[in-house]
Structures are given as structure tokens and as C-alpha cells.
Amino acid sequence: MADPENAKEATTLRYAFGNVLSFFILLLIGVLAFWIRLFSVIKYESVIHEFDPYFNYRVTQFLTKNGIYDFWNWFDDRTWYPLGRVIGGTVYPGLTLTAGTIWWILNSLNIPLSVETVCVFTAPIFSAFASWATYLLTKEVKGAGAGLTAAALLAMVPSYISRSVAGSYDNEAVAIFALIFTFYLYIKTLNTGSLFYATLNALAYFYMVCSWGGYTFIINLIPMHVLLCIVTGRYSSRLYIAYAPLVVLGTLLAALVPVVGFNAVMTSEHFASFLVFIIIHVVAFVYYIKGILSPKMFKVAVTLVVSVGLVVCCAVMAILIALVASSPTKGWSGRSLSLLDPTYASKYIPIIASVSEHQPPTWPSYFMDINVLAFLVPAGIIACFLPLSDASSFVVLYIVTSVYFSGVMVRLMLVLAPAACVMSGIALSESFSVFTRSIKFQLHGLSGSSQVDSGDASSSTVVAQNDAGKAEKTEDTAKERPSKKSKKKEKGIVDKPSLKAKIERRLLVLPFEASIFAILLLVLLGAFYVVHCVWAAAEAYSAPSIVLTSYSHDGGLHVFDDFREAYAWLSHNTEVDDKVASWWDYGYQTTAMANRTVIVDNNTWNNTHIATVGTAMSSPEKAAWEIFNSLDVKYVLVVFGGLVGYPSDDINKFLWMVRIGGGVFPHIKEPDYLRDGQYRIDSQATPTMLNCLMYKLSYYRFVETDGRGFDRVRQTEIGKKNFKLTHFEEVFTTHHWMVRIYKLKPPRNRIRGKTKKPRSQKTSSTTRTKRSAATKRNPWH
């Protein structure tokens, strides 16, 4: 301390040490993010999860087998029979291309991993990347300490884990990384004004566009922030560099993605960015004029421009409004509209409302998904205002908007999670910094106070550095991160040593005991968070949903592998070109696992087609047979949980079949299926319900299992117990009855009718009338 040279060397050494330490902490955070997501592999197996990942897996298989050009041109004739689907043009290719590239690199190094393995582990790998990106973003906002805390929080935030466990091979897995990284590069550009980062930002944005439809969040949030900066008088050339290249390059690049194409300039989701683009240019121009004109001349110019500009603006606005108004949905797609008006979907689009992840979340789900972060976020917001910079105002804006969106759809909780982690990271880091500083001050108050008082700026910083170093040692037992943070904080003060800051620092000192107690509480809070996250990763979010397990009374594990049993049966024991009809939930799995053509799948792009299947399922047997036959369907697959008590089966989804079917074909009326406003299958059920195809296929011969037909999901005895199928025959039922597959019986032979002509005069006429009635019901005629 006496020798300034020595002290300098010590500080540089400590910086080097700090860098290495933070590097290793980051590495460990990455490892943590990866490992915490492997519960699903350890508890179950290395397998693709749920529904959408199966489609992505299938696309990746196609990509690795046939190459990129065939992938772009892929017309898939195995789904949406007879319409088919242009996969290359309707899919966000980011995830698929990423996994395909990883697979290709590994295979060119002669590491023979299967496509499935690569797909399973893509999400954990990218969550490690995402936590590193969070570090970078938060570091730009509030320094490295906050960055490390935020990265550690994000590595295990349950909301993100739910979408990125090993096997959850979905767009969000890579998109969250792309989202955070884009934000980081935006902030980085904003802080440095470097065109290099601006270009990288556009590229990151391009990757995001490739990966997920959620890119519209970026292209609306960044303009909002730019506008906020302009309005609050924070316009600078750095802001211009951060924004203008992003819009130009980003839009051009986004238009390259087939699924976006001209939507990047045509739909209203993108209009905000163009509007702000114009505004920022006007502002930039004004600043430029202001710089070259004298104040008097400037006033004249302003009045001139404003009057002309108003006229032009009005004209442009009028044209824009006319354009937007001319399109049917006012230029907004249904999903985006439901973002703005949470009740929109349930009112107008049952198919969106039928997906559980499109429902608004409940309060417990916030606690489940972001846990203690919910309490830390407000503190983080306050910390962001002390002092408010461009970067911190961006994070504040980010958290505010994402809180709104997460309130609309459960699914968008995922966008909230990184923001909450950044905020909580800042909050934790700042509060640790305050408390540790107080402790330090108290500890050294006796010995070093005179020096601090008398010393000039440089010596006081040296003291601060040393204090930081000592704090590091004392705090080793608690945690390393906060100490690093405090050091960085000190560093920030070193850069701008101002009298005000010093005074502030002095004022922020808390009592010694209170600080220790508060640190203990914070550590406890962190521990609670960790315990919750590990529990969520291990128990709540690791089930692959195609394999179910239950524990018997003696502790033995019972596996319900019925879905794969049925898909394997279909794939080995039916013809390759047979068409399988099922509710759309199972479409992706059927194409991927059984390799059979399906009528509808989880893509849900054609409401009419889904309504057709819904109509068939809610029609009586004969009418359903005719609908299915007209679609060349050979097998019908239903999921039935009544025997083992699997709740998300087709009977529980039946209301959506009726609702979606009835939405397009009015002869399906929901009240026909309801008794006392409920879908019932017991003896109180309506006759329409008891005669519809879904009821019959689910409960066919069910009564023979226990003698009375007790449905364990609905907890009742079924209404109609003994019945026969006339147009369908059971060809396969899985071990626990969870999947039942029926075959359409071939139509009756006509020759028989001819030979018995005289006798069947009467009956044939009745059948004819019946048939004509049935054909009317069939939407395909």
C-alpha cells in the first residue's frame, strides 16, 4: 500500500486472476446447464420427447440423409393427406440446420453418433451457450459480477429447463440462446458504437429468425427501446449504429428464410421497426442540421420541416392504415393477435385455444417456473435505475414487455425467464455488493479510515481494491461470485472516481450484523432456488411423455410404453402407404415413429382438415366411416386412458374435436354432446355422445376387462357397455389399452345385393335414403 508500484502490480495480477476465475466459473456454469438437463436421459432414456420434437427429428433425419437442397424443396406427402405439406418452406430451419451441422461435423471427424443422439443433446448444449450469452448481456448492463450471477441463475431456471431438457428437441432450445445473444450484441453495439458488432447483431438476428417465430419479439422490442432512448433524449450516434444496420441487414436476411419471406416487410409485426427506422433518421438528420446551423437558422428550419413533414407523415400514415385495414386480420396473424388481446384465441380460434401451452398462466405456474426470481426482479429493476444507462433501460423494457407476454400465454414464460434471470442477477449482485462493502467498511473502519479520509483518489481506490481482495477471502465460504462482483463494482468506481460516488458509498453502509444476516438470507434464498430447480429438472420436466412410469406399492418401477408399442406395430405390420387417422396431437409421432401417412398433424395449418377429422370422430360410426373412407384412411388410432388412468386421452380432448369440427361443419352441435354443460360418458351421457365414433372406439369391449366398465380417468362406469362395431374392426390394442388401432372394414360387396334383388327392394330403398343422408353429412361431398 505504501509503494504504489507494487500495488499496481498486485492489482493487475488480481485482474488476471479474476479473469481466469470468471472463465472457470463460466465453464462450470456451462457444465451445470448441460448436466441439470440430463435427468431425463438418466431417469428414462435417451429419446426424443413429446410431439413437436418428433417432427424436428424427422426433418433432421431427412436433412442428414438427403442434403440441404432436397431439404429446401421437400414436399412431404406423408402428412396432411391428401394435401401434403411443403416442409422446406413452412418450417423454421434454424434448429434442424444446427443439429444437422453438428452431426455432419462429428461424422466428418469419424465420430459415429446417430442423428437421434445429436438431436437429444442439442438442447442442453445450447442452454450452456444461452447461459454464457446471459453472462455477456448482463456484463454489458451491470458488470461481470452481475453477469456471472445471471448466468448461474439462467443455467437452472425451471422455465427454460422445461423446454430444453435432453430430448426436448424443439425450436425454443436454440432460439433462447439466439434471443439472448442478439440482445447482447445489440447492447454491445450500443455501448461501443462498433459497426462490427452491429453486423454481428444482424447475423444473430438472422439466426433467431431461422430458429423461432418469436423473433418478432426482438424486432418489436429493439425499436421500442430505440424510441424510448430518442424520447428521453438519449439519442447518440451509437444508437443509430446499433439500430439502422440491424433493420436493413436484418430485414434482408430475414426475408431469405423461406418461412418468413416477404412477411418480413408485409406484415404488421414488422411495421414498428420500419416506423422507428424512419424516426431515427429524422432525428439523426435533425441533430446533424442542429450541428451545422446557427440556433436562429435552426428554428426557421424546424418550423419549415415540421409543417412539410406533418403533411407527408399524414399521407404516409393514411396509406399505411389503408393497407393494413385492407387485409382481413388487419395484417396480424392469429397468434400475434392473441398476444395483444388475450381473449382473442378462445373467442375465435379454438385450434389455438385447444393447446394447453397457449392458455394464460396461473399464479402458481409463475412460482413453479421462475421461483424466487419473481421476488428479485423488482429489486433488479430498481438497481437498473441506479444509474439508468442505455443498456439498463433496455433490460427494464425487456422485463416489462416479457411480463406482459408471459401473462398471455404459458409458452411465453420462456421469454420472461432470461429477463428475470438478468434482473435477479443484477439484484443479487448489487445487494451482495452493498452488504459486503458494508462489512468491509466495518472491518476496516478502525484501521483504515484515516487513510481513506486523507488519501487522494488514487490511494482510496487502492484501499478499495485491497478491501475487495480481503472480502474475497472472508467470503470464500459463502460464495465466490458476489466477491468478484464487488471487485468489478469497485473497478467501475475506479474508472469514474467522483466525489459524489464516494459520498454515496459512505452513506450506503449498513450495520455489520444486519449485513451478515442479509447475506445469510440471500444465500438461503439462492439455496432454495437451487433446490427447487433441481427438483423441477428431476421430477417435473424430465418425463418424455411417450414413456410413462409409475411406482407400484413395493417400490418397483412399472413402465407404460404403449405409444411406442402401437407405433412399432403400425410401422412393421401395415403397408407403407396406409393412411392412419388420429387426432392431430399424434400426427407428428405417427409420421416419425411409425412412418405412416397421417391426415392431420401438430402443424395445424389447415383448420378445415382438422375439423374434418374432428367431425368424423364425433359422428356416428357410419358417417365417420364414409368420411374416413373418402380420405383413403385405412386405420384409425385412438388414445384411451380409461384402463390405467392416463388423463390426457382422446375422450378428455373430445370437446375440442366437437368444437373445432362444429366450427366448420355446423351439423356437429356441441350441445348435443353436453349434459348439464358437461361432457359425460356415464349413464347420464347424451345418446349422440354414446353413439359417436370416439366413444365407441375408446370403449369397444372395455366392459369385458372388469365386468362393469369402470373408467379410471373419469371415475365413473361407462354409459353404454355392450355394443358392436359394424364398420370398424379392432386390429391392435396395446398392453395397457392406451392406444387402440382400428381398421376400416371394406365396403359391402355389391353383387350380393343384385342376387337378392326381389327381396331386398324395401331395404335397399331405405339404405339409399340413409346413404344420401350420410353423404350430406360428409363434408367431402
Partner: protein, 474 residues
């Protein structure tokens, strides 16, 4: 040169002898005093035990005995083995004899022949006892060809009541053993009688060569007709101490095709009546000390399997995802690791050899096409193979973890494989132990150069414009 000449000479001589044999006709020279045939129809692999008492009635010593088969049987013939019995009663010993397929120009109705080479030439007037075992696959024809879930499986077996032979047979009897006493019908060729599960044809006396009397037995056989259409076994040798085996199965139930509905409720509630010809379990016999066993298919792990290990053998009981009814198929993969020292040995000439079992580990199954790929470690040379029966073979190259030159793969292919083929085969190769270290060294050097590059990058200043020495102010 001399050896070659000698070989040619013997060849010429043998051809001459062969031709002379033909001209003089075998039946003149050899006759069969007594023939007893036992046909075992209990499983879907037909096993025939033939005991022949052969006498040389000619003047010249006989070296060979011919077996004749109708052309329909030859296609399904999986194994023909012959043993010579010597000694009497309790001291009886058996010596395995060489059996080879052969062609004869004047075979009646396209009959095919196998030639048994005797160890000692049979002098005139001498007799010898031969035990012949042959197995037929796909020889039980389901009739009716399609059955429903509740019906038992009935099959036809076609054969001849009289043994097809190029020799005169003095006396012969045929016993046919059926799995149950439920025999729908059988052709009578007097004297014929049936006692519970056994049908007896004969004895017939003095049948001339090539006598044939077709018979059909129609009986119930509910044993699993498990047929592996294609089996690819990959045996990968790692000199780090592990032998990794991966087996890809394409399984089919080759019995009467399943017709109409499959009712789970009937299958579960009445297991003894419903789907009795179907099967849901298979037993794989694996070598002892097996580890890391997995059983999966292309869509993931199949949870229904049990492994029992003891010091002599391991038994893996597997259940396909669904019970297999007639005509239903399933594919799956079984993989396991074995300690290398149990299977890899060093021969006296410094070569290493792998001693591993051929055939399919599944009990009582027929493999239509078996491919065994032996993946030798990278850098091994001069592969050669010793198999106790003829197989097709060729070489391939496989690239696995971080390979540069690739691993040599010996590919053996054989059609129509039955459990009798589960006999050991040997693969010889030379391998330098240093190659074991190639891949770790490669990795180490790659990381080393990476770190060197990092260090170099951190110490190189690539900026064009040097900012004035700001840090001096510090």
C-alpha cells in the same frame, strides 16, 4: 511343381474313379442293409436323424457314400452332418465325416446329392454304420394359411415314406414325431401306424434305388415359428479390453398368417385359448461375463427384458414390443460388451486370433440371412478366417471413433442358419500394440496445438495502428 503335378494326378485319378463309379452305377457296389429315419417335427426346424448301415457288395473298395434329396428339400436344407459309428454298444464312438454337396449328371427328377467321404475305404463285403443328421427349415407349410386369433396352427409336412437313395435299401423304417397327438390326417403307406405323438412308416423291404412315395402329415404345431429374416452381427474388437457386439434383428413369425381382429381383451383374459401360436418371449443365450446389455429398436429402448447371468452363461429374455402373431414383424437391436481376454488369444506364430461363436444367440430360431462383421482394430493386418462350414466372405473398411485409415472389417455371410451353426470360428490377424495409443496421442496433440495456438494468439499483436502507450500513465 511336383506337388502340383501330384495334385493334378490325384484329381485326374479321382475324376476317373468318379466316372468309373458312375458307369458301374453305385447301386451295384453299395447297398444299405438297414435304414432308420427319425423325423422330429416338434419345432419349426425339422430335424431328421438317419441311421444307415452300409455294405459294400462290389469288388473295389468304396470311399464315398451318397445321400440323395428331392430338389424341394435341398432348398430348405440347413445342415447335413454325418458321423461314422465304430465299436459296439457301450463302447460306440462317433467320428465326424466330411459332407459336401455334389452334382451328378444323370440324377433322376433333379435329385440333389451330398457326398459323405468315409475315413477308411470300405472294402468289399464290409459294413459300416453312418449316422446322418440333417435339418430342414421352412418345411412346415401352414394350412390353413390364415388363422384367426382363437384357432390353433395346423401345418403340413411333405416327405416320402421311403427314403430317397441311389442305393438299394434292404430294410427301412421311418418314425415321425409330432409335437402333440393332434394329427388331422396323414398319408398311409402300409404298413403305417400311429401311437400318440409318433407315426411309424414301415418297415419296408427291398426298395429299389430312387423309390419315392410322397406323404403328407397334417398336424397341429403351436411352437413359435420365430424366423429372423436378416441378422447382422457386428463384433468390434478393442484392444483396450472390450469386445462390443451389436446385433440387428428383423424378426418375423413365419407361421400361419394372422387374420382379422386382434382382441387384446381375449388375449389377456384367455391366454391358453387365444393366440396360442403367437409368441411374446424370446431367449437369447449370451456368453458369460456379459456387460452393458441393451435392447432397443429404432424408436428407443424396449423396457421388457430380463438378464440372468451366472458364471457359465448369460440368458437374456426379451419381449418384443408386442406379441408376434403369424406374419407380424418386429425389428430390434441387442448390444452387449464382453471382456476381451475371454475371446482374444495369441497363436503360436505371434498372430492374434478371435474365437467367437457363429450363428444366432436366439434359441430355436432360423436365420434366413446371417451377416457377421468382425471389425478389427485400426492398424491390424493380414486378416484370415477359419469357419467350420462354407460361408461367403469379403472385406470392408469402417470408420469409427477418430479413425484415420479405417478399420478392416471381415464380412461373413451365410444363408439359412439354424442353432446347429452355433460353433466357434476364428479370425486371425496381426496387430502392433503401439496402434492402441494412436488415438489418445492424436487427441493429446490436437489439444496441445490448440493451447499453443491460444497462447500464440494472446501474445501476437495484430493491430496495424498502435495506440500511444496509454498504460504507461497507470
Amino acid at each position: 511343381m511336383e506337388a502340383l503335378l501330384g495334385a493334378r494326378l490325384t484329381l485326374a485319378l479321382s475324376i476317373f474313379a468318379f466316372l468309373s463309379l458312375l458307369t458301374t452305377s453305385f447301386s451295384q457296389q453299395i447297398q444299405i442293409l438297414n435304414a432308420e429315419r427319425r423325423i422330429d417335427l416338434t419345432s419349426h426346424i425339422v430335424k431328421v436323424f438317419l441311421t444307415l448301415k452300409v455294405e459294400n457288395t462290389g469288388t473295389a473298395p468304396a470311399n464315398e457314400v451318397l445321400l440323395a434329396f428331392p430338389p424341394t428339400q435341398v432348398d430348405h436344407l440347413a445342415v447335413v452332418k454325418a458321423k461314422a459309428a465304430t465299436g459296439r454298444r457301450k463302447k460306440r464312438t462317433y467320428i465326424t465325416l466330411d459332407v459336401k454337396p455334389t452334382e451328378l449328371p444323370d440324377a433322376p427328377n433333379g435329385a440333389k446329392y451330398f457326398i459323405i467321404s468315409l475315413l477308411n475305404p470300405l472294402n468289399s463285403g464290409e459294413t459300416a454304420t453312418l449316422e446322418v443328421l440333417y435339418m430342414l427349415t421352412h418345411s412346415l407349410e401352414p394350412f390353413p394359411a390364415e388363422i384367426s386369433q382363437s384357432e390353433p396352427q395346423l401345418v403340413y409336412y411333405h416327405d416320402s415314406a421311403i427314403i430317397l437313395s441311389p442305393y438299394l435299401i434292404k430294410q427301412q423304417t421311418t418314425f415321425i414325431k409330432t409335437p402333440t397327438s393332434k394329427v388331422e390326417s396323414f398319408t398311409r403307406v402300409e404298413p403305417t401306424n400311429r401311437v400318440s405323438t409318433e407315426l411309424k412308416y414301415g418297415p419296408y423291404e427291398d426298395r429299389t434305388p430312387y423309390s419315392f412315395s410322397p406323404i403328407i402329415v397334417h398336424f397341429e404345431n403351436n411352437n413359435p415359428f420365430a424366423v429372423v429374416e436378416e441378422l447382422v452381427r457386428e463384433v468390434e474388437i478393442s484392444h483396450w479390453g472390450n469386445l462390443q457386439i451389436t446385433e440387428h434383428y428383423k424378426l418375423v413369425h413365419a407361421g400361419a398368417r394372422h387374420k382379422g381382429v386382434f382382441s387384446r381383451v381375449e388375449y389377456q383374459s384367455r391366454p391358453s385359448h387365444s393366440g396360442i401360436s403367437s409368441f411374446k418371449h424370446l431367449l437369447a443365450r449370451l456368453p458369460p461375463r456379459v456387460h452393458s446389455v441393451y435392447y432397443r429398436d429404432e424408436i428407443g429402448n424396449i423396457s421388457s427384458s430380463h438378464l440372468r447371468t451366472d458364471y457359465r452363461k448369460s440368458e437374456l429374455e426379451i419381449e418384443p414390443r408386442y406379441p408376434l402373431f403369424g406374419g407380424w414383424k418386429a425389428t430390434f437391436v441387442i448390444g452387449y460388451g464382453l471382456p476381451l481376454q475371454d475371446f482374444l488369444f495369441e497363436s503360436s506364430d505371434g498372430k492374434r486370433y478371435l474365437n467367437f461363436s457363429f450363428g444366432c444367440p436366439l434359441a430355436e430360431t432360423v436365420v434366413d440371412k446371417l451377416t457377421i462383421k468382425v471389425v478389427l482394430p485400426e492398424g491390424s493386418k493380414d486378416p484370415s478366417i477359419v469357419v467350420p462350414f462354407p460361408v461367403e466372405q469379403h472385406l470392408e473398411t469402417k470408420y469409427s471413433y477418430l479413425d484415420v485409415v479405417g478399420r478392416t472389417v471381415l464380412v461373413l455371410e451365410k444363408k439359412n442358419v439354424v442353432p446347429e451353426h452355433n460353433s466357434p470360428f476364428q479370425v486371425y490377424y496381426t496387430f502392433n500394440q503401439m496402434f492402441v495409443l494412436a488415438e489418445p496421442l492424436m487427441l493429446v496433440s490436437a489439444f496441445f496445438f490448440f493451447f499453443v495456438a491460444c497462447v500464440a494468439y494472446l501474445h501476437i499483436d495484430l493491430s496495424i495502428h498502435k495506440p500511444s502507450q496509454h498504460f504507461a500513465k497507470f
